[in-house]
Symmetry: C2
């Protein structure tokens, strides 16, 4: 109805007050960009948002997505900040082959058992023209002697390489990271959350002692937690995985677990203490200070484009993305509202000054004075894209030395003086960063329950959120709980209450409460 009226008004150029025109354009654009509300279908809302905010789309290749420029710009900001943090903690980047000889995968028994079955297998290295004249076919004569696997993770090829790098304790530690693509042939995929190909970083470190390797794996889970909370504004619970949920080949897996708005947990980063498992599988020893050979100790740790999913599902709303200022490709958008070209050029001149001031504070600004879209349309567009702050300048603002400031996180606006606007926006961005963290933190806290009985557990798990409960530490009980409720142990928290108790299912002793949830 609104659209019809609005189109009518557009076509006839009916003289409407600017304000009304704008509102109509806004609602018109909103209808076009409309997302399925979260209350109707959280999962459809997510897919709509990823597509309409132009973050990613499905490709012609099953399970592989295209990361579109706006989505990739957010990922680049994540990469840059994480990379800085890795370098500050002494790591260097390197690059290892995309392909892994098939035989490597079976060298570490647990690794192959728990991991590497669903993967892309390269069997041939040449195509030839189809004898029937249509297209190309695989050349049967170009069959590889040993098949190559597209890396699902690189422990095997890297430890095979480290063998040549390590002779003595002087060669240790090795602290390498790589930014790479990996492939895991998932049957049910969702953009960013679970795709056949995804982008990630994988750190692989080698140490002379067990103690040092454990310290490294804890250091890196702390880096991830720091990044999640302080850049992504996503509160996480740090903990240790149970044996069932551990990485295949690891002695201990550290994890950070986030809570999405729909009450499901999302594993957001893991760091593994690998013991000497891969060193033994690939025969990597070093001469210790006493001149005796010892197997090397290992860690690996990674985060992936899955973090994009965590970011989207933690903060966004029915109007679109909500981005933390520290990761927003555009932190501030400025939109003019003008009656004529002369007024626009006055606004342009004033905005140029404000933009320069904002840039001095290191704020990324986009001034959208394009005349192909109406202001209301632009409002809806940048709301959908999650730009944290919108500044609007109209004719009256020029006269009054004012400007309208809109916050994406609270959807509120106010009109303030142009004096000191850059400083104001700078502080506002900090406030938004804090506010969305706090909002997510409060949501998580209010949906985290402490439960003591199995009956209560089964009831509360239906409400979503985290549950802290006692567990007897056995894989059997864990399996039973999963079978009955689809809830898994997200982690054994490192921080918080460590009081022992009794398992809610078996009544056997429990060392501390562990964190349960249904999960992505």
């Amino acid at each position: 109805m609104l659209i019809v009226f609005c189109i009518f008004a557009e076509l006839k150029d009916v003289s409407l007050a600017d304000d009304i025109k704008n509102k109509l354009n806004y609602y018109m654009a909103k209808e076009l960009k409309e997302l399925t509300p979260r209350s109707v279908s959280y999962s459809q809302w997510y897919n709509d948002l990823v597509t309409k905010a132009e973050l990613a789309e499905n490709s012609a290749v099953r399970g592989c997505m295209v990361i579109k420029p706006y989505g990739y710009a957010i990922w680049e900001k994540m990469q840059r900040n994480l990379d800085d943090m890795f370098k500050e903690t002494g790591h260097v980047n390197a690059y290892f082959p995309l392909f892994i000889p098939k035989s490597f995968l079976s060298k570490e028994a647990d690794h192959v058992e728990g991991f590497a079955k669903e993967c892309a297998v390269v069997t041939h290295y040449r195509l030839k023209n189809n004898p029937d004249g249509t297209g190309v076919v695989v050349d049967p004569e170009a069959k590889l002697e040993e098949e190559l696997i597209v890396r699902p993770t690189s422990e095997t090829i890297i430890w095979n390489t480290y063998k040549g790098w390590i002779q003595s304790w002087r060669d240790l530690p090795i602290l390498c990271n790589q930014w790479a693509n990996v492939v895991r042939w998932e049957m049910r995929t969702r953009m960013f959350l679970r795709t056949a190909e995804f982008l990630w970083q994988e750190g692989h470190t080698a140490h002379a002692t067990q103690e040092e390797a454990i310290e490294e794996s804890i250091k890196m889970i702390n880096v991830y937690s720091d990044f999640a909370e302080n850049f992504m504004a996503v509160p996480v619970v740090k903990g240790v995985k149970s044996a069932n949920e551990r990485f295949a080949g690891a002695v201990e897996t550290y994890t950070i677990e986030a809570m999405m708005q729909d009450g499901k947990a999302l594993q957001s980063g893991t760091s593994h203490f690998l013991g000497q498992n891969f060193a033994k599988a690939f025969d990597v020893t070093f001469m210790n200070k006493e001149g005796r050979p010892e197997f090397v100790w290992a860690t690996s740790w990674g985060v992936s484009t899955r973090l994009m999913g965590a970011l989207i599902m933690t903060h966004s709303d029915d109007n679109g993305l909500v981005l933390p200022p520290k990761l927003a490709p555009i932190q501030v958008v400025i939109i003019p509202i003008h009656r004529n070209d002369e007024q626009l050029s006055q606004i342009n001149a004033r905005v140029a000054e404000i933009t320069a001031e904002l840039k001095k504070y290191g704020i990324s600004v986009k001034y959208d004075n394009g005349d192909n879209k109406k202001p209301g349309w632009k409002f809806a567009e940048y709301e959908l894209k999650g730009v944290p702050v919108r500044l609007v300048m109209g004719g009256r603002d020029l006269e009054n030395n004012t400007i309208e400031v809109f916050r994406r996180d609270t959807l509120t606006k106010e009109t303030i003086s142009q004096d000191g606007i850059a400083e104001y926006v700078k502080e506002l961005l900090d406030k938004i960063q804090e506010n969305i963290f706090k909002k997510a933190y409060d949501m998580r806290e209010s949906t985290t329950k402490t439960v003591d009985t199995w009956e209560e557990f089964k009831e509360k798990i239906e409400e979503g959120g985290f549950i802290l409960a006692h567990w007897d530490g056995t894989p059997e009980t864990e399996e039973y709980i999963k079978d009955q409720t689809k809830a898994t142990i997200r982690c054994i928290p490192l921080d918080g209450d460590k009081t022992p108790g009794v398992c809610m299912v078996t009544g056997k002793p429990s060392a501390q409460r562990v964190l349960f949830a249904r999960a992505y």
Copy 2:
């Protein structure tokens, strides 16, 4: 002999003057790190250098290399600077799938004919435990309906994607770049120069007009030329490829060609005007301003880790790498020479001040006061690694307020005052950047010959270097010249002498001289 003496002196702790000790250590280290001299075998020198300077090494996977941290750090600096240049010219990054459905490759006839035969083919998506209990085998039941090709280049998958992005002229231009790995199954590989898997960037742009697309492809070859000359200090000739050497599927290929120290050319970057070939193959049209559908115009452009090969082979010498300061991961190394711990702590204090000053100028500094290696050993190590400037501070320097400055490019040293050292070094780095460019430029100019007869051509081509000669413009003559001399047309230069003449082989008319060389 030297080594024997030196080891003897080390073992017996014979009292040698510091200076002599240092020299001995230097020569000892040099022998261990010795490269095959270029005069003996340029190709062995290259392999030695890549390995011993720890840039890369061959991996367990045929034709795939491991890029080691030091090599990767140089590549990262290249990436960062190129990426900035792409963004300054209006491009954005995105990411497209690693895999390409086999049928896509044959959609553009020239593309598949000239290109995509030697590639990695994924035929299966699952492994299973070998029934005989040993390792894993490919699961024959997990055969893909259509094979997937590991991208050798992404025109096909990207144009298939652009089809969904482009409806009207308002959606154009699209200016995307991706940083990615690609695979071409090369039979004869050499680290960085030609490997089965390599890292690169590929820009893919879509335009409404032919004119705009041609402008874009020329703009990007200019960006590459700018990067090669001003960051890599590698002089290049810009030009157009002959039809024989054109990218498969392109209407025109622009190239930058560099000259290596052994007189062979290295193609260092290409930018293609693709006409409407890929738009037609993937049916990508747009409504023009007049409301009529038209096929979209395309370009693509790329540089790869091959640039590392160009960088190494242009500047380095028998002592190791020579790096342009703008791409050196470590621009300045500082090494103390001390008699005792007290003197070392005095040097440490002074060096801390100098380091802080250098960093203020944005210079990357490494202070190597580790006591596990002797200064002479360190000298040889950082020479091998191509660190542009070495500062050495000893006891006498402390007393005299002096410091020794060593230039990697000229292998010369001088002792200067510590006052204003940061500014001095800053200017010195600029000088080194200029000097190595000039050296490479002079080398290329002195080995570029203008030739008018076929007899002279056959003689001069044996000497290496570029030859400017007239050619009748036919593929047949080009083939004949290649058959007879292994020389190819590197490009038809865009700049320089455009005087017409007659072909040195056939005597037919020639529009201008073209650039010949034997090439990597």
